[in-house]
């Protein structure tokens, strides 16, 4: 099922040196149950694309539609809280919180109605964190574990769309594969739309479809 559409979106950064055209009329659509990989050189505009898809910013031209509705006319904070889960290269766990609290945080923000603690623990278990580690501060985990906690946080509020910006960039091969496996499973088993930005070939290989960013242009492979 189609969930996200990019309709000719363009985006510019204004710098001292002049305008940087980071995105040039990108058009694509994404479906549930599919893992997408967006590849491209550094500086080609991948992260920019992702922030537009997450509604962190709005395009200069064109629009991003979630289930047919333009993000421009939506409460984008709420859109992120309820429909998007984000994963970053550098995990972004809050150091002052425990593993389980980090996951609970997104539930609290999404105004999750069920038992937040139980849901958070369920998610951590799902990504392979052991129960006795739930109450450890996030900084005490290894990089792979931290990224798994970040994944648990991203999927806790049960969003349809999961955006991961170089989720394996800081991880060794084994941990990378582990994360990709989890993400793939989310798409194939739980029917999420997973979009992974990466420049690791082995990650792209595992995706169902690959798109390439090249100097602001988006093309399907």
């Amino acid at each position: 099922m189609k969930i996200l559409d990019l309709n000719g979106i363009s985006y510019d950064y204004t710098t001292k040196a002049g305008k940087v055209h980071a995105l040039k009329e990108a058009t694509a659509s994404f479906e549930t149950g599919v893992v997408y990989a967006i590849v491209g050189r550094s500086g080609s505009g991948k992260s920019t694309l992702m922030s537009l898809m997450a509604g962190l910013d709005v395009p200069r031209d064109g629009d991003v539609r979630y289930r047919g509705e333009s993000l421009l006319s939506m409460d984008r904070d709420r859109y992120r809280r309820e429909h998007v889960g984000m994963i970053f290269q550098s995990y972004y766990l809050l150091p002052q919180l425990t593993a389980v609290e980090n996951v609970e945080l997104s539930l609290e923000l999404a105004n999750y109605r069920g038992n937040k603690r139980a849901r958070a623990e369920e998610m951590l278990t799902l990504v392979g964190i052991r129960r006795e580690q739930f109450r450890k501060r996030s900084t005490q985990f290894s990089g792979g574990e931290q990224q798994r906690i970040a994944v648990a946080r991203a999927i806790a509020a049960d969003p349809e769309l999961i955006l991961a910006d170089e989720p394996t960039g800081n991880l060794d091969n084994e941990n990378s594969m582990n994360i990709v496996e989890i993400l793939t499973e989310l798409a194939h088993r739980y029917g999420k739309c997973v979009i992974i930005i990466t420049h690791a070939a082995e990650v792209a290989e595992r995706a169902d479809r690959v798109l390439r960013m090249d100097d602001g242009y988006l093309r399907a492979e």
């Binding site: 904070d77 992120r80 809280r81 998007v84 984000m86 970053f88 972004y92 002052q96 923000l109």
Partner: protein, 612 residues
């Protein structure tokens, strides 16, 4: 939720919370403490200025004297708040022998002044305004004998009371409460002198530490107010008799008054080659200098903390927000609004600031009090009664040691700065200007007699009525039927008589066709009094006649009704209006010494326009 997150962050990031709060706390503490100390110093300066008794002293130069007339030359200006003088009364003594406790027998009254000098000598008399400011008492050389119920400080303003030396008490067996006579020699009354005797109650006996000198050098003390009256109204500016004074202390309005004070005195003809005016309020200067240096330090600390501290705080705050940038970005990506993130950070800051500022203010206050008490205990304690003055021997450095200097102590506190000057009573000098009116009031009982002073029938059993006597420096300003000028012009005017005005509605108001003046008697209390008029004594009410002599002897004084006043804000109804000089005469004659009542030359001053 935001508040919960904020508190959780504060708890989970203890080092950050503690460090930031401490920084704020220290800055606020230093600022509060220095600011409070600064204010305390400011406040102390004002208090010191207000409470300090700036005293200028009139002292003699080597081998010369200070005379009563010199005082008159100094009291003309507007700079004086109070005056204290010690008066060596060469002409007033307590006679020895039988005349010490009894009036001279009328039959044996020595007719020649020289014969009176042959009476056994009792004791010299000194008149003082305030006993505690007389040097030997001040320095502790003389002390009031234990158990006599009087302190040197307590001996102020009362009238017709005597403090006698131990030797006189022991020699004649006099105790506190006994009555003795004072003998006066009035020069100028006639060429041979004229003697009068006045009763006086002993209220204290003093001892001297060093009893080596001859008894003559230890005088009895009485108040100047009394002595002045007894000397036929030698009100200070009019004094011509060369009465030798020990020393005169003038309490001035402020530090700056001294210059004007000296100029005025010099312009009035004070002989500065014979006497000297000294102003040695060293303690004030020292205290002020100390306060100023503390203030400078406090100001420096305050300004330093204000600039550096605030800079540090701003830096810390920016740093604090900056370190949360990742967190901010994450929270936004998790769907928290940007405003929400700011509010959460603001809550954290607010809580830390609230705690730190509250603590800082509280501890800063305590610190300021601590600084103040340290300052009190060290710097100011040293400066109070500056060491130099304290070490001076009053006997030797007479001119340099102000009587009050040794007792001044300044105690600085954040909210309650005090200057403990000696609680001395000064007979304040109120000198009304041309357009001002000086007023004093006193309630006395009176009884009516017939014209020309001869008693009306039945007056012996008459009833006394309390009435208020209102004395003014200028009766004409109140609107009286007979002006002062007209009164003085009368053929029967007698400067030694007391004249008064009653209300137009009073039954005592003079009526057309009266050929004499109605006379009212005033007593000092409601008990029986005795009047002796032209050698024949009458008993007025109450007690039986016990004793009589040639003068009004038993607390009664007569006053003539000379005219009327229109009722006004000052006096109306049964009030009696008299001029200030007559008031003083009346006071003198009655030796009024009610408990708590202090003799005031002029009680207060109002503007004449207020009467209109």
């Amino acid at each position: 939720m935001l508040i919960k997150f904020a508190f959780r962050n504060l708890r989970r990031l203890p080092w950050r919370t503690v460090l930031y709060s401490s920084a704020v706390f220290l800055v606020i503490l230093a600022m509060t403490a220095s600011l409070l100390v600064l204010c305390a110093c400011e406040n102390a300066r004002t208090t010191l200025e207000e409470e300090y008794m700036f005293v200028a002293s009139l002292v003699h130069r080597p081998n010369t004297n200070v005379y009563m007339s010199d005082v008159g030359l100094c009291t003309q200006g507007n700079e004086i708040l109070g005056i204290n003088l010690a008066m060596a009364e060469g002409q007033a003594v307590i006679p020895g022998g039988v005349h010490m406790t009894e009036y001279p027998d009328e039959d044996n009254m020595p007719s020649e002044p020289s014969a009176l000098y042959m009476e056994p000598f009792g004791c010299n008399l000194f008149a003082v305004e305030n006993l505690s400011m007389v040097y030997p008492f001040f320095t502790g050389e003389y002390t009031i004998r234990e158990g006599t119920g009087l302190t040197a400080e307590g001996y102020t303003g009362e009238r017709a009371e005597l403090v006698i030396p131990w030797w006189l008490a022991d020699q004649y067996g006099i105790g506190v409460g006994d009555t003795v006579m004072r003998r006066y020699n009035h020069y100028g009354h006639n060429n041979n002198g004229h003697y009068s005797y006045r009763e006086c109650t002993v209220v204290g006996i003093y001892e001297a530490k060093n009893k080596s000198a001859s008894p003559d050098s230890y005088p009895a003390y009485m108040t100047v107010g009394r002595a002045e009256r007894d000397y036929d109204n030698f009100f200070i500016p009019r004094t011509v008799t060369p009465i030798v004074l020990d020393r005169v202390d003038f309490v001035l309005r402020g530090r700056d008054s001294f210059g004007t004070f000296v100029k005025t005195a010099e312009a009035n003809g004070l002989a500065l080659d014979r006497v000297d005016l000294v102003f040695n309020n060293a303690t004030y200067d020292t205290l002020l200098a100390e306060l100023d240096s503390i203030r400078t330090v406090a100001l420096f600390v305050f300004l330093t903390v204000l600039t550096v501290g605030l800079g540090v705080l701003i830096f810390f705050t920016v740093l604090l927000c900056h370190t949360r940038e990742r967190e901010r970005r994450l929270l936004v990506s998790l769907g928290m609004t940007r405003g929400g993130v700011c509010r959460m950070l603001a809550w954290e800051l607010a809580v830390m600031l609230l705690v730190a500022v509250t603590l800082g203010l509280g501890v800063g206050y305590l610190a300021a009090e601590g600084v103040c008490s340290y300052v009190n205990g060290s710097v100011l304690a040293r400066a109070s009664a500056s060491q130099r003055v304290r070490n001076l021997s009053s006997d030797e450095a007479f001119d340099e040691t102000m009587p009050l200097e040794k007792r001044i102590e300044l105690s600085v506190s954040v909210f309650d700065t005090t200057v403990s000057a000696s609680a001395l009573y000064f007979n304040s000098m109120c000198l009304p200007d041309e357009n001002e009116l000086g007023i004093s009031r006193l309630t006395l009982p009176f009884i009516e007699t017939g014209e020309n002073g001869y008693p009306r029938e039945g007056i012996e059993n008459g009833v006394w009525h309390p009435t208020t006597i209102v004395a003014v420096t200028d009766p004409d300003a109140v609107g009286v039927s007979v002006s002062t000028e007209a009164l003085r012009a009368r053929a029967d005017y007698n400067p030694y008589s007391i004249y008064m005005y009653v209300s137009e509605s009073s039954p005592f108001a003079p009526k057309d066709g009266d050929d004499g003046l109605l006379r009212l008697y005033f007593g000092k209390d409601m008990q029986g009094c005795v009047s002796v008029v032209d050698d024949f004594a009458i008993r007025l009410g109450g007690e039986p006649l016990v004793r009589y002599g040639r003068e009004n002897v038993a607390g009664i004084v007569a006053a003539y009704v000379i005219g009327t006043y229109r009722d006004n804000a000052l006096c109306s109804g049964e009030d009696v209006l008299i001029c200030m000089e007559d008031y003083h005469d009346m006071f003198e004659a009655l030796s009024v010494d009610f408990g708590g009542f202090r003799f005031e030359r002029i009680g207060h001053i109002i503007n004449k326009e207020e009467l209109q």
